[in-house]
Symmetry: C2
Subunit: 620 residues, 2 copies
């Protein structure tokens, strides 16, 4: 089995370009904004276990996971930025956790306060999910600062979980309703070297769908939590999309660690199901609000797209893990699609507010539909907010941005793969070899990427050509180079210790259509430039943007944009006349020409509420 | 105030063509099919008031109205057809009603059995609605057979209602949650000459939205039952669409009877709101399942169109009443649209099964969306069924078909208006004058209508030119005639006692588009021929019909069809290739030509479940 190690973000500095800007925003603004909101909503003080009836902000069952993800984010930020205020806050939170941890190792601020007897009796109640996030936080904080207080505490907790769930089997369920512990235990294993943690993770993976009888939400069926089959026999992406993609990521981890081809095959088959049938063009997954779930193939409605921010993150996690098993360009393509679209849209341009769902169309005229009933239809929100009741997304977003360099490179003894393009430098040890990689690029503002590699002599360097790019050129050490493409990567043999490559990707605008099986997009196209999906908003294009038709033969005007970072694009189109108050009228072929302004999808809803659409009618 | 009397269906025989066929089907099949289903579901036996715990078919709160509408249907059928079996059954049902009617005049099979103390305490519970339908049945059966047993009983009931609601005001609500009694009382007044009934109807109309405090469904707001304003101040169509259009019809009745211009103005304004903003191209209204209600302007989704069969009927009732106040062609256009589309689709070709909702698109791929939750999303049914739990539509449909001739003519001292075209003969007295009108036509299979009028000397004959028709010709007594068009009607002065006119309407196929404000139909067109809306089904056109694009420059092939009565139409179109398993791909302008078969919309879902769409993408 060919295996690749991912280069950890701690070895990489993003020094330039878009992601540098986003990491800066994340460290300066987002982490603090989430801190404030968590403070105000009692998420941090919940760790004190002293909430009393009548107090505001009664803690929620998975507040611990929110706090843990925030700590993990802070840990990554502290790797690159000295920030005493942030570090002190983390230490304070860790002190609270450790102080209130039970003798047994158990820690859950909700169960300890509100239902001590209920511990490990209700599968739906996210206990192991919270535990997993605390473990990830512990590993991250230890790696970042060397402080092991939380790590030691979480090892004790993991030991306790092993005892209760695997050794004594006294818990009233077998696997957690929300996967996460499986991912955390693998990280805990890597951090501590303790193989029992890896084994416990594998055990949770293998038990899923086999022996689970514990009741769950009454409205959910076994697919909701991916219990319908043992994981090795699962072939389609099912159920709650965050749970699903966390599980698939963990399956990929276990496949990797154990070189388990059967599990790898299951991961590949499930990935294919998502890739060919269940993914928005933005990388969003889980199209339905009902169960926040995957549904049937090709069911990708735009207006009601759920496409949770956490699900986009989870898909990137899954795809990146698949790259370690098999460096196929489509995994990296999916990561890239998520990065610039489905994930990025989750956060406002000022870094303070968030989408939970990420619709591909906003039609404000539908917002008032409930004229005669008192309850309001659950439609996606149209502007980002700073905190949610279920605020899983904001700290997930900040930890993802802080560690985004995790997605750049995989290596093994023969090869070095470059998957994503970000202006950065990397220094890492591979075996006994020290390798240095730098990228100089403003990608995806333009498609020019200068790569320097040192210390890779004798290796193959694989440079990704994104699948969307038909026109590219490569030069190596100043000379044009016709490299072979293998699974979407240009292969260069590093004959010297140092190598300079320059990749030029054609960033022409292009129209993309969906498969005829996607009924929601029949007759429609989307505009992309590089990996960036574009959208049109009413704020730029007037009322009834749904009526705009774009000429299929495009002559784009690309205009730099500071505010959106990526350029805005103008296309020729047309729209119909409002020449009568008739609801129905003879079809007219007389159309009014219209210049249509597109902005990067990720930046929609930053200028007030506005109609928006990614998919537009096209005039062929 | 100019006023017109509608010629009652009892004066008209439909002897030819499509509606003759439908009335035959109705009298031979539909009325018996509904009878059987009502027998099986205990609707008839509920009148015995002897249901016991453990018995099947516990009666429902508005079973009386189902039975009443069935009696009313039977009454209309018996006008033209001697059918002893049917008449005996009606007499048996009437005997039960009268036997169980209280001394006071009260009759309600549910309240008398299950909650005698609850009488007139709960506005939502359809008591006056049931009473109204029983009154309409009584009037119809008396008019048809001369038997006055039910009529007398219902007059006693009306007297009792007047006492409780208007005189003593001891009921716990002021107006019924579901309008109907208002319509019934006007008919009772016309049948008996008792003006108190008319006054009571007006009283209910005037009290609505004024003084109503009785609680209703907790999920409904005041718009749901058109209580948000006094009716004279209402300007938009709101709430439950059947309730609404029954109310508006009754408002038009009262405006007519009292020559009440203020009320007429309210009716006109509300009609405009429907006509310009809230009506499907099929004449369906009430686009949302939530509250079965009107929503915001231009909210006309196709897949989830609710468009209840009873609402289509109610809109025709409303529009027809408006014609008596003001003979404007758009009222007759709406009646026609409903007749051939939104109403007609409600019934299967074999006359046995019914739609409650009438969607404008069926996408079977969405039916399985709920893969991870146990409850199923409420989506429109895809095939008609014989009976519903709430089976208001089937007996409403059969009474409507049996009395469809009500929609043909209005007259006053100077004028005779011909609104709809059906092969028929009519003999009616207007004042002291006996007028005979016949139509010889196979409309809308073709557009050729021969009209003979006798006894109309000195009157103006107004012959409707449907608004969809730009190209028509008229000859009178064999000579081409350039008649003036007034509000959409060709005016002919009848100079002799007899007159023969021949109208030729161009029945070319045409593509129609919706206003740009209807976002659901952006980029789309619908095919019509005459008043008939067409649709395409997957059973004729293969998978993914949503992807079909129709050339905007149509060259239709019109092919006679026995099964659908109206012709089927073939248009040129194209569709995209399935050339890869990619979910997303570069936009291709290479399309595969396709011949596309359209059938009349009303006939969809008669050949098994199938994807269907009225609105299709169009290639401009």
């Amino acid at each position: 089995m060919q295996k690749f190690k991912a280069v950890d973000h701690s070895n990489i500095s993003i020094e330039q370009g878009f992601w540098h800007h986003r990491q800066h925003l994340n460290a300066e603004t987002t982490i603090y904004s989430v801190w404030q909101r968590f403070e105000e909503t009692g998420r941090f003080s919940a760790l004190k276990l002293d909430w009393k009836e009548g107090d505001p902000n009664k803690p929620h069952i998975f507040y611990d996971s929110d706090v843990a993800k925030w700590i993990e984010s802070a840990a990554y930020i502290l790797e690159k930025n000295s920030d005493k205020k942030l570090e002190n806050k983390v230490d304070e939170l860790i002190d609270l956790i450790v102080k209130n941890q039970e003798e047994t190792g158990y820690f859950n601020s909700w169960f300890q306060q509100f239902d001590p007897e209920g511990r490990f009796t209700r599968r739906a109640d996210h206990e192991l999910y919270c535990a997993g996030h605390l473990m990830e936080a512990a590993v991250a904080y230890y790696n970042s600062t060397g402080k092991d207080k939380l790590l030691k505490a979480m090892c004790r907790y993991a030991d306790y979980i092993e005892k209760v769930f695997k050794i004594e089997r006294t818990a009233e369920f077998v696997t957690c309703g929300h996967p996460e512990i499986e991912l955390a235990l693998v990280r805990l294993y890597h951090c501590t070297g303790e193989s029992r943690y890896l084994e416990l993770s594998k055990w949770f993976i293998d038990m899923r769908g086999k022996d689970e009888k514990n009741t769950f939400y009454p409205w959910a069926n076994s697919r909701y939590a991916q219990d319908h089959l043992p994981v090795r026999r699962q072939t389609t992406a099912e159920g709650h999309s965050v749970r699903a993609a966390y599980l698939y990521s963990a399956m990929a981890d276990i496949a990797y660690e154990y070189e388990d081809m059967e599990l790898q095959q299951a991961c590949e088959t499930i990935f294919d199901d998502i890739f060919h049938k269940k993914m928005y063009i933005t990388g969003g997954i889980g199209s339905s609000r009902r169960g926040e779930a995957f549904t049937v193939p090709y069911d990708l409605p735009n207006e009601t797209a759920y496409a949770e921010s956490c699900a986009a993150i989870a898909l990137a996690m899954f795809a990146n893990r698949m790259l370690r098993l098999n460096p196929d360009v489509r995994y990296a393509d999916v990561v890239e699609t998520v990065l610039y679209n489905g994930f990025l849209a989750s956060t406002s341009l000022d870094g303070r507010s968030f989408f939970y769902e990420n619709p591909l169309s906003v039609d404000l005229s539908l917002r008032g539909r409930d004229t005669s009933v008192n309850d309001k239809e659950a439609l996606p929100i149209t502007e980002r907010v700073e905190v949610f009741d279920c605020s899983c997304c904001p700290p997930n977003i900040t930890r993802f941005v802080a560690a985004v360099a995790d997605y750049l490179y995989t290596v093994n003894d023969e090869s070095l793969y470059i998957h994503q393009y970000m202006g950065s430098s990397c220094e890492t040890d591979i075996g006994s070899q020290k390798i240095y990689i730098s990228q100089e690029t403003n990608y995806p503002v333009d498609g020019n990427i200068k790569i320097k590699v040192k210390g890779a002599k004798g290796r193959n360097l694989f440079i990704r050509v994104p699948s969307w790019c038909d026109d590219y050129s490569l030069s190596v050490d100043g000379k044009a180079c016709k490299a072979d493409k293998e699974n979407g990567y240009l292969r260069i043999e590093c004959e010297a210790d140092e190598l300079e490559a320059e990749l030029l990707l054609d960033m022409s605008c292009r129209l993309v259509e969906a498969s005829p099986s996607v009924h929601a997009n029949a007759g429609k196209a989307a505009l992309l430039r590089g990996p960036v999906v574009y959208c049109m908003e009413a704020v730029d294009n007037g009322r009834d943007i749904q009526d705009i038709m774009i000429d299929s033969n495009i002559r784009p005007e690309v205009e730099p944009s500071e505010g959106f970072y990526f350029p805005v694009i103008h296309l020729d189109g047309c729209r119909r006349k409002y020449d009568s108050d008739s609801l129905y009228r003879p079809l007219s072929r007389e159309l009014i020409p219209a210049k249509v302004k597109f902005i990067p999808y990720y930046a929609f809803a930053n200028r007030g509420e506005s109609d928006m659409q990614v998919w537009f009618n096209v005039k062929r």
